[in-house]
Symmetry: C2
Subunit: 149 residues, 2 copies
C-alpha cells in the first residue's frame, strides 16, 4: 500500500506536480476502493469523511491531473457519470469490464484479451493503437444463478 502511494507520488513529482495533502488523500481513496469504480462525487464524499474541508472542484482537478499522467483511467458506463479507475500496477493496458444489466454490478478482467485483435486492427485498418476500452454488457454469474431458482 505505502509503496504504491510512494510510486504514485514519485510519478507526480516527475511530472512536476506538487504533492499536496488533498492530492494524496485522493490517491488514498482510490487505492482503498480499487475494486469499485468511483465517480468524482463518490471520491469527494469519501475524502470528506477524513478531511471535511476539501472542495469538490479540487477533487475534479486532481482526478483530471491523475488521468493526464496515466495513473487513473476515465470511463463511463452510460449512466452519465464519469468514473475513475486506478491503472493496475505494471499494466500496460486498460483492463476490461463486465457490466451486469440486471443488478448493475461492474467486475473487472485484468487479463489482456485483445493483443491478437489489436494486431489485426493495426495491420488491416492501418491504425496505431495506444489504448482501448472494452466493456461487455450482460448477465453476471450471480444474477444467472438467481434466475434459475
Amino acid at each position: 500500500m505505502e509503496d504504491r502511494i510512494q510510486k504514485i507520488k514519485d510519478q507526480m513529482k516527475k511530472s512536476s506536480y506538487k504533492l499536496t495533502s488533498q492530492r494524496e488523500a485522493t490517491v488514498r481513496v482510490l487505492l482503498e476502493n480499487e475494486a469499485d469504480h468511483l465517480s468524482a462525487e463518490d471520491v469527494y464524499l469519501k475524502i470528506k469523511e477524513k478531511s471535511p474541508e476539501i472542495g469538490l472542484a479540487t477533487v475534479y482537478r486532481t482526478l483530471e491531473l491523475l488521468t493526464e499522467i496515466n495513473i487513473v483511467d476515465k470511463i463511463s458506463f452510460g449512466d452519465g457519470v464519469q468514473r475513475f479507475d486506478l491503472r493496475k500496477e505494471g499494466a500496460n493496458h486498460f483492463h476490461h469490464h463486465l457490466v451486469c444489466i440486471k443488478c448493475g454490478s461492474v467486475d473487472e478482467i485484468e487479463e489482456d484479451l485483445l493483443p491478437e485483435v489489436e494486431r489485426k486492427v493495426e495491420t488491416k485498418y492501418d491504425f496505431q493503437i495506444h489504448d482501448h476500452r472494452l466493456t461487455f454488457h450482460g448477465i453476471c454469474k450471480k444474477c444467472k444463478e438467481d434466475d434459475q431458482q
Copy 2:
C-alpha cells in the same frame, strides 16, 4: 434508403409506438448521417433545417425510444456527450470504433472481432454476454502519414 425506413417504421409499430413525423424525421437524419456519430443536439440541428418547429426534448425522447427498441446504440467517447449510432442492418453486435487522439476522427469497424474473446469470457468468467463496447484510441492512418512528412 426508403426500404430501411420502412423496416424501422415496422419495428416501431411492432413495439406499439406511433410513427409521427418528428420520429420519422429523426430516423431520416440518422440514416443520412450514418457515418457520423451525432449527439442529440447534432440531430436536433439537422432536423431543424427542414422542420424548424421541432423541440429538442422530442429529439431526446425519440432517440431514447429508438435505443430501447435496438434501432440505435448509445455511445460516449468521453467528451461528456452521448452519441447515437444506427445499428447496421442485420448486425447482431454493436460495431467497434477507432478514435484518433490527434484529429478526433471516429471510424467504424463493422466486422465482429470479438466472437472468440467472448466465448472465452463466457466460460472463464461465467458471464452471459448480451452486447459489447469496443473502442480503440490511437493514431489514425491520415495523422500517421501527416506525421511522417
